[in-house]
Subunit: 122 residues, 2 copies
Amino acid sequence: MSALDVLGDPVRRRVLELLAAGDKPAGAVSAAVEQEFGISQPAVARHLRVLREAGVVTRRSEGARRIYGLDGAVIDELQHVVDRYRSLWAQRLDALDTEIARGARDRRAAEHKEQRDDDDLR
Amino acid sequence: MSALDVLGDPVRRRVLELLAAGDKPAGAVSAAVEQEFGISQPAVARHLRVLREAGVVTRRSEGARRIYGLDGAVIDELQHVVDRYRSLWAQRLDALDTEIARGARDRRAAEHKEQRDDDDLR
DNA sequence: CGAGCGTATAACCCTAACGTTATATGCGTC
DNA sequence: GACGCATATAACGTTAGGGTTATACGCTCG
């Protein structure tokens, strides 16, 4: 869920790719991204922080270096999101017709009785 | 690609779900989302616009109603993104060791020669 | 054709997100 | 323990994104 909140940014998606290909020290990520996007080291550091706080990447210390890695669970999480959309997509009958029909029914009802407040999708 | 640019917002993700389950007129989407998120109709209309401009949803007219539907291709697009991450993830050798080794090599080289500018990930 | 509904846009405000430069912190090395 | 490298944070400016209210526009129907 939360992964999508954070993957809206192209820089962060790129970082994700870089780390998916293998753990890397912050400097390696920075160097690549700085060059590709023309942004500064602190900017990249911030993106790394955001990703870490979102649980998308992990960090460990190795001497003075901070090694970042993609949390593998994120991929599964994204997959689940996709699966969810897909299953909804699959189950969708021609719900539009249902909607239309319901609208018609409501409209018809409204002619005679007062229209009760909708408690469901209208 | 572009889909992720737009799915960072929980409201839009919800709209996506609603539409994945079946095409719906704007009013149906609005009603649901307004209630769930406590936002106004114009706010929802805007989200619908953004989704449409991003190619995530389609719109067609039916009388006075505007019927929105999820563009099925989006699901595949998302799947491809996930697949890409997954394949990178799969191929990752212990690239960290490589990085570390390269760092060591560079550092060693730097002792004797001047360190040439990095043209690759460092 | 006038009223009303359904939907979109306009104009505006506010905040959060992202960038920058400058600086702090912490480890390794001489 | 001083210096240098690796990384993170501070402080700050700017913009874009999301919200609101008010209003416009097109369709439908009495």
